[in-house]
């Protein structure tokens, strides 16, 4: 066995052959080959359910493969692999859900479980720990202090700490699962710099992302999985977003799916916001949304987009300004907004949008109690079920079973349920905040089609998104916020993602207003 291993390509850091995996039943991975070169940035792509996570879990020892060989730095890894062994070998994961401990300092997080001790004593040498951490931080030129408390750092810097933690484990392979999903565009750019820096240090990075542009920009090679099988491994010069998407979904996207031109829509104004101000959050925000129009809101995280949506919906109060809804002055409150035909799909789906332990029927029913209950307040089970089935059919929720607990659905389908809560009402205005975070590309497209379908029916839609292609794809008009103000509005014609990003970052040609 080991003789064979030595004969393999010495430029390879990891070589997996014929990996099979099933969790009691269907094959999640079948006969997958996966190899990584030393010091490369390797993208692993595929739709949700393609087997990416399972493959990563096998490599990192969280789960065991059923068959196949795995060789890491010349060591053959047995079927009975485990996480600690993988870590000792130098395999590290930068998790999508950050694995840092709140309340602890940067240094404490980096060295957790391997804190330097005073010689011969089980006592942590805090001074030495801080110095070691600071040394690492400085070596990579990060803008951090070893004694900073994690809670006080922005997400992007927390990710940097994760990377430092992996580096302190002498990781030679770093796996990043959707690292940009909660970063702003600028922060993402920072992260890419760091990834390239890691590469220059000879560290191999496996990069998992739904964002094709990132994959295209960064990767040296791309492995594409579909339905648990290896589809293709692309070399640098073969990589193009369109090609990757074709391989992932097994067909090419149509022109309509990938491109969109902004169209001016005028007519009846659904909502008009005038000079909205909110201490420290919003300043003089004014805009209108017309019937059947999709208005996009761009801007960095913290630019006030979410705050603006919450204010319009009536969750948070605002200090001054006025709102006119359907031609009448309107002071928003959640109850009135729901009764008046608003729909709101919040940013943090798990926290604000769904009740995971309740069925699809229950989730949809709760937002529509008025229409499913009798005058005395008793809920009609039949009506509730009808409504749920209506929403499932309308949005193509998978599985189409109204009794499934929402917590058991995939991210994309959960999002559909959140939207579905509002669709079956007499909807006039739909606000969606980051509708496709953590959703795979197929579900994303369905989401877009739903939004378009609604706007064609005359619903005014406001889309807030950090995903620039998403904004340009959906919006008829784009407003960019920065520090609580409207800094730029794009109407008519075409807009490039770069233009939106520049506005959001405060780099604007001519006068900045």
């Amino acid at each position: 066995m080991s003789d064979k291993i030595k004969s393999t390509d010495s430029t390879l850091l990891l070589e997996c052959r014929g990996i099979d995996k099933s969790y009691n039943g269907p094959m999640v991975l079948s006969n997958v080959d996966f190899s990584l070169k030393r010091g490369e940035i390797h993208a692993l792509v595929g739709e949700n359910g393609a087997g990416k996570s399972t493959l990563i879990k096998i490599v990192t020892g969280i789960t065991n493969r059923n068959a196949g060989t795995m060789v890491f730095e010349g060591h053959s890894i047995p079927l009975e692999h485990n996480k600690n062994a993988a870590e000792r070998l130098g395999i590290a994961v930068i998790y999508q859900e950050l694995s840092l401990i709140h309340g602890m300092s940067v240094a404490q997080n980096i060295f957790l479980t391997k804190e330097p001790l005073f010689a011969g004593l089980p006592v942590i040498d805090i001074k030495k720990m801080n110095a070691m951490a600071q040394q690492m931080i400085d070596r990579y030129g990060f803008n951090l202090k070893a004694t900073d408390i994690i809670d006080q750092l922005p997400i992007a810097q927390r990710q940097t700490v994760e990377i430092l933690k992996a580096l302190s484990n002498k990781a030679s392979l770093m796996i990043m699962d959707e690292p940009t999903s909660s970063l702003t565009a600028t922060e993402s750019v920072q992260l890419f710099k760091i990834i390239r820096l890691l590469k220059s240090e000879g560290i191999t990075v496996v990069y998992i992302s739904h964002r094709m542009e990132e994959v295209f920009d960064l990767s040296d090679r791309v492995t594409v999985l579909r339905d648990g099988k290896l589809v293709s491994v692309l070399e640098k010069d073969e990589i193009s977003p369109a090609e990757i998407i074709r391989l992932m979904i097994g067909r090419a996207l149509t022109e309509d799916e990938s491109h969109h031109r902004m169209v001016r829509k005028e007519g009846e104004v659904v909502i008009e916001v005038n000079n909205l101000c909110s201490q420290g959050k919003l300043k003089d925000v004014s805009f209108k949304v017309h019937k059947g129009e999709v208005l996009g809101f761009g801007g960095l995280v913290g630019s006030g987009r979410t705050e603006l949506m919450r204010a319009i919906y009536g969750i948070d109060a605002f200090d001054s300004g006025s709102i006119t809804y359907l031609g009448k002055p309107y002071v928003p409150s959640v109850e009135k907004s729901i009764a008046g035909g608003y729909g709101f799909v919040p940013e943090e789906r798990r926290l604000q949008g769904i009740m995971g332990a309740i069925s699809i029927t229950g989730n949809i029913g709760i937002a529509n109690l008025d229409s499913i209950s009798s005058r005395a307040g008793f809920v009609s089970g039949t009506k509730e079920r009808e409504r749920a089935q209506q929403a499932i059919a309308l949005l193509n929720v998978r599985p189409p079973n109204p009794d499934v607990l929402v917590g058991n659905l995939s991210g994309g389908n959960q999002q559909k349920v959140v939207v579905g809560k509002w669709l079956i009402r007499d909807l006039k205005l739909l606000i969606v905040d980051e509708p496709t975070v953590g959703v795979d590309i197929g579900a994303k497209e369905e989401m877009y089609q739903t939004i378009e379908h609604l706007s064609k029916q005359g619903v005014a839609v406001i889309v807030v998104s950090s995903d620039l292609p998403e904004l340009t794809r959906l919006a008829d008009r784009i407003i960019v916020l920065r520090k609580g103000r409207i800094i730029k509005e794009f109407i008519d014609g075409t807009v490039t993602e770069e233009e939106v990003l520049r506005a959001a970052s405060g780099i604007i040609e001519g006068s900045a207003q």
């Binding site: 840092l100 401990i101 309340g103 957790l112 479980t113 803008n143 600028t186 970052s505």
Partner: protein
């Protein structure tokens, strides 16, 4: 200065000013005897509160502490009544039983993934019943609370100079535990487990072992307090400690360890314990209606918790602002 440091200073300031006010209001407050009994009271609660603090840091709760006090007292009194074993043998056995009960709590919580509240509440019920069964009975089967005369055992209730031994043990235990959680790897694991168990596991921390250890320590502390309580009262009763959970929880929460886990330390608990003991003593000294005491204690808890939440919101805003400012320079550089 950090939020928790400011909070602590305020509490110490209040401690001193309430103490000063009481000294003026009732001359018997500022006497050595009174201060020493007050410290003794505080220490009996405080020893239990130290173990409980660690449980709260892991975001758990231990409702069985009162019942552990009861059963430990019954174990001791049975040894005294029915054996001639010396105290230096049966006291370690009683303390080990406390650990064992904690182990059971931890085992059920981690192995069967049961909610801490339910497990420890069940343990509480079982131990309460066992304490009654184990109680020493007279010939007709009536529970007879024994008047303890074992001198070595009673020496736990004595003083060194004017200071009760229990007070010394409380402060030494506090010091050791504070050092343990702040300066050892196992201590870091406790915080990590409470702040984010998933992250802790991903980092390679055996969170189950940590939890079991913490519940064992909590059981140990309760058992230790029980021995001092028995020595002080020179007897053991099957209802000892039952219901004392509230004072322990109050001390810890006033001390600044929230129920959410990952935050808190022993110094806070020490201050919280002293604060509670002072309030209770003060109520007696002012000759206020005894019914006022639970109201005052409840009120203080509500006020501290409200202030904590309010201040946390305020601090988070400030942190978010700081974080945004930090982000600025890198952003412009793109």
């Amino acid at each position: 200065m950090s939020v928790s440091a400011i909070r602590r200073l305020i509490l110490i300031g209040l401690l001193i000013s309430i103490g000063a006010a009481l000294s003026v209001a009732n001359p018997s407050f500022l006497t050595l005897d009174n201060l020493m009994t007050m410290l003794q009271e505080a220490s009996l609660t405080g020893i239990v509160a130290i173990g409980f603090t660690l449980v709260l840091i892991t975001a758990g709760i231990d409702m069985s502490i009162g019942a552990v006090i009861a059963i430990t007292s019954m174990i001791c009194v049975n040894f005294i009544s029915y054996t001639s074993l010396p105290a230096y043998i049966f006291i370690p056995i009683a303390l080990a039983m406390g650990c064992l009960i904690g182990w059971f709590n931890g085992f059920f919580i981690t192995y069967f993934k049961l909610p801490e509240f339910i497990v420890t509440l069940a343990t509480r019920g079982i131990l309460t019943g066992l304490a009654l069964i184990a109680a020493v009975k007279d010939s007709q089967g009536f529970v007879k609370n024994v008047f303890i005369q074992d001198e070595l055992f009673l020496s736990f209730g004595e003083t060194v100079g004017p200071v009760y031994i229990v007070v010394i043990v409380f402060f030494v235990l506090a010091l050791a535990t504070q050092f343990f959680i702040k300066r050892t790897r196992a201590g870091s694991n406790v915080y990590a487990t409470g702040a984010n168990p998933t992250a802790a596991r991903l980092t390679g921390i055996d969170t189950d072992r940590t939890l079991i250890g913490v519940y064992m320590f909590s059981g140990f502390c309760a058992a230790l307090a029980s021995i001092f309580l028995c020595a002080r009262m020179m007897t053991a009763m099957p209802e000892f400690g039952i219901g004392s959970e509230m004072d322990v929880i109050a001390s810890v929460v006033i001390g600044g360890t929230p129920f959410t886990g990952g935050i808190g330390d022993i110094w806070g608990t020490v201050i919280g314990t002293l604060f509670l003991a002072l309030i209770k003593n003060g109520i007696l000294k002012l000759g206020l209606s005894p019914y006022i005491q639970p109201i005052v204690i409840g009120g203080i808890i509500v006020v501290t918790v409200v202030l904590d939440v309010w201040y946390k919101g305020f601090a988070e805003q400030r942190v978010a602002k700081l974080a945004r400012q930090k982000q600025m320079p890198t952003r412009e550089g793109v």
